[in-house]
Symmetry: D2
Subunit: 332 residues, 4 copies
Amino acid sequence: MIQFCLVGAGFIGPVHAANLAAHTGARLAWVVDLNLPAAKALADRYGARAGSDLAAALADPAVDAVIICTPPRTHSPIIEATARAGKAIFCEKPIDLDMAKVDACGRILQQTRTPFFVGFNRRFDPTHRALHDAIRAGEIGRPEMLILSSRDPEISPPDYVAAMPYGIFYDTMIHDFDMVRWLLQDEPVEIFARTACMLDAKENPHRDPDTAMVVLKMAGGALVHINSSFRAVYGYDQRIEAFGEKGMLISGNQQATTVERHGRDGIRRDPLLYFFIDRYTQSYRRELDAFVQAIAANAAPPIGFDDGRRALMIAEAGVQSAKTGVPVALSA
Amino acid sequence: MIQFCLVGAGFIGPVHAANLAAHTGARLAWVVDLNLPAAKALADRYGARAGSDLAAALADPAVDAVIICTPPRTHSPIIEATARAGKAIFCEKPIDLDMAKVDACGRILQQTRTPFFVGFNRRFDPTHRALHDAIRAGEIGRPEMLILSSRDPEISPPDYVAAMPYGIFYDTMIHDFDMVRWLLQDEPVEIFARTACMLDAKENPHRDPDTAMVVLKMAGGALVHINSSFRAVYGYDQRIEAFGEKGMLISGNQQATTVERHGRDGIRRDPLLYFFIDRYTQSYRRELDAFVQAIAANAAPPIGFDDGRRALMIAEAGVQSAKTGVPVALSA
Amino acid sequence: MIQFCLVGAGFIGPVHAANLAAHTGARLAWVVDLNLPAAKALADRYGARAGSDLAAALADPAVDAVIICTPPRTHSPIIEATARAGKAIFCEKPIDLDMAKVDACGRILQQTRTPFFVGFNRRFDPTHRALHDAIRAGEIGRPEMLILSSRDPEISPPDYVAAMPYGIFYDTMIHDFDMVRWLLQDEPVEIFARTACMLDAKENPHRDPDTAMVVLKMAGGALVHINSSFRAVYGYDQRIEAFGEKGMLISGNQQATTVERHGRDGIRRDPLLYFFIDRYTQSYRRELDAFVQAIAANAAPPIGFDDGRRALMIAEAGVQSAKTGVPVALSA
Amino acid sequence: MIQFCLVGAGFIGPVHAANLAAHTGARLAWVVDLNLPAAKALADRYGARAGSDLAAALADPAVDAVIICTPPRTHSPIIEATARAGKAIFCEKPIDLDMAKVDACGRILQQTRTPFFVGFNRRFDPTHRALHDAIRAGEIGRPEMLILSSRDPEISPPDYVAAMPYGIFYDTMIHDFDMVRWLLQDEPVEIFARTACMLDAKENPHRDPDTAMVVLKMAGGALVHINSSFRAVYGYDQRIEAFGEKGMLISGNQQATTVERHGRDGIRRDPLLYFFIDRYTQSYRRELDAFVQAIAANAAPPIGFDDGRRALMIAEAGVQSAKTGVPVALSA
């Protein structure tokens, strides 16, 4: 039974807490949040202890692992403290927004030999996983082009956006950068990016890019396109298309039911599932299970520090390309 | 070059006329209709002669073949006259509504050795044909169940309905009875039918059945279901599902475009093609071509008199079952 | 917290046990099975008590409710004992195979005012539920035809089949009979059924019907078709199509992923989910939740004794029609 | 009745000849090809005159219009001669490969006031047209992103490729550049392109780019992605996706039938139509009809010289970007 401390009671925290509660090999022991009432509310639901002081939780010898789901800029000190306390780490992406801090984390993790997992949950989505397995099994031969649609139904609140400029790279497409590396088992050597502000001033007061198109060139020669938006009114649009010498694979969207409605104006099916909580329910459960199994088996978690660092590096280069208007080289 | 006389300028007549005009091996020589102006209007469009007297056209030695597309109750005298004149016959279904008349036609056709074709056009629809070929190729092993949806978007005008009571059997499902025989290469030994009047008195003043469900038992053991309606507001609904020991084949509906529209309320595609003229455009062309090729090659047309007679026999038994409420046996 | 005793550790028992374990308002207290090791194995997984004697469990005052998932022929004595012990009942369908016993159960349930629920889980499937809600909301106006495909991927083991002749009616289509009543909010007044043995002697040694077609006439006039098979090699085929004056609704099948594979030979998608455990995962969870909520609120469970009795009555009449070859009247 | 001279009996020539023959308002009078036997073979099929000397045909006062379907590098002298002869011009794309020659043609066309049409047939495809109409009708509000997949099933023969380096821009994506302008009613201000040689040396001996990804920035702000390949083994893959503030529209691919095949390994549908002849049958007919109608009505053809010139200009800039590795600006 792996005992967890969850840091960050908001946003994705409750999802991880519920999955921990339902997991037969894990237990939620602590919830830590600077906002103590929020920590308490979540902890009480699952019979866990609550606190606003991470040190107290880390001092609890019962705690085996920490799930970090606080805002990205707070990750590195939490990673450092947790690593020094000798607990395994499940960290939401991105590791941090500042590459220097990420590298500092990397050094500490290495020194302390801390098991570290980055929450790129999409790798655990059954449909994306089936696409991955089909590519790896050679169904389309050599992959030549990859096209990813990565669109959110709505933009985050203004203060969240303000805290992470170019979040469409750091927070959203970072998932796609990871998917590209995972699906192609290859590294990009160049990124070109173009962004736009399509939302109006009310929805996007900080005029941070809310729309983006990216072209990546991979070391092995494959070409990759990613498009992203913060306003797909029809739901969470998450498609991946892999084109190769022997065919094409498409990982499509998902809907709540399979009902078809035939009327005078056509055939209507359900809208797409609305957002990541709806679409990636299973992938959150499965990534947690993968982490628990790795820790229980004393094995390396299946997505490591370098995966998190690489994805951030691509995001950084993408932002640079978007700002300068020219392609940016990446070392494979 | 096979020269045709078309009898019946209304309804499906213009479709056949246009297909004749576009066919490189055929020519429309005559249009005959009791309504002479209608005959003229159609004939003029294609440089053909027009008349209201069938005898005159049949006396024209240039005429090789006659297409009969008048109302069903007028078919038998036209068939007889045409056979006696030594011309090949392309006859719209049903051959006639009266089995005694049909049998009389059969005797004359046999005596005169007249090439005879019944216009069960659906056998020439590419999608139904692909289903047929897949069954015959053994893709689903022995076919065990067949389910046909046969729904028109609207009911015929009241006088048309009055002229052919139980038209849902004689005019509509007669196509399905033919499809069942063709797809399974087997004959039914029993039919059970239930009908209903679902349309209101304004749409269906004669209270002729406008909705029907049928179960057939085939000599070889397969079970067949057909459902039919005269009011599918969403378009011409023509599906066939073949279930067998090794799988299932579905011949689905068709739409004008493949456009998908994603909005807040779901994903919308085009409605179904509206009616048989829209859906079976290709099958009308191909059945004519099959007839022309057979005549040109002095071969038997691919759908013969017995096919037309058998389908009528099943329709008759279906009407009897619908009226008596019990299954009716058919001799295979 | 509602405490449960589960009777019958095999087959569907473990599904209910797992759902009870995950439910925040319920607890699995007892597992009873004549096969004590089986009861123990299941009970141990969830920290429950195990026994082979139902009386002992029913004597436990902590037990609030009993889930009956033993073979159908054993249901009535368990129902009676449970009702006399004053516990609420969640009973798998069918209530029993013998109408006299069912009626005896009904009298006892009424005398003891025992809350009783029949496990017609399909009513809780999100897709079928969406179809139901759309019909009830008037999306297709008056429903005129209902077509249900109800096909299992494989036949049950020979001894299971031997214990329940005509199980395709009593065990499989009984679900569809319930769906028809629920979707149309109407009762059938006539049933016609035809069956066949399509499986070979090895798969179906008792030559019990493995294939069936049914036509129902409803009191309100709607026509219903059900087709069923015990060998859909392509997976669990569970479709419902509702046709009405304003359109058509289809509740379609489900697949594990949305991956599309484009190759030279066409476009391939996943096969259907294999069987009911795969397809109806959510509906089992939701039906349990509905029962728990009803018991907790002291309200009548949403599917009652009469629903179970009616479905059995239709199944009985269907078997009679299949045996006699003529339609059988049902009192609405 | 508009009388045509067709120049170029190979490749797409026979398609235009057949459409002319079937058109009630047009007639094929001449077929001209340097290869006289080829001209004769095609001309004989439709009762037209054949020649290897364009001047003779242009001297025929019966000829109203000329369809140019020779290789691109031969277009400009034919355009000039035809314009000087006072005949209307239907010219296959691209107008020419050399912008200076295109501009020279433009001057002559203007001087001679010659009606000029460029054969961007995709504008007449019913599905793309429906997408266009939906965008123009405001169904998705302001279009923000456009994604085009433009993939051929096979590469052209080596000598064809050798005659037109970077043909993936000049011959294939030039269609997409036109679609972008037509769908968005806007001009690009920047293009970025990356290409690759994915085919092996046997298929692509000249190592001309056979794979490409493009990003366009439009004057109005929209972002556009095009991806293209010369080897989609699964058929002619021609999709357009328009994303906007109110939703998304997708113009999908097409298949020969709607048959679904359900087996143990999944659900299989037909492959895509194989190539442009199969997919764009209707659009070739409709573009000819649009041209005939314009000429008959003395109106300007619906796709003019400037449309052809603009598309070439974008292709040229794309090639430059692909060669230099940086984005290239375009004047809107």
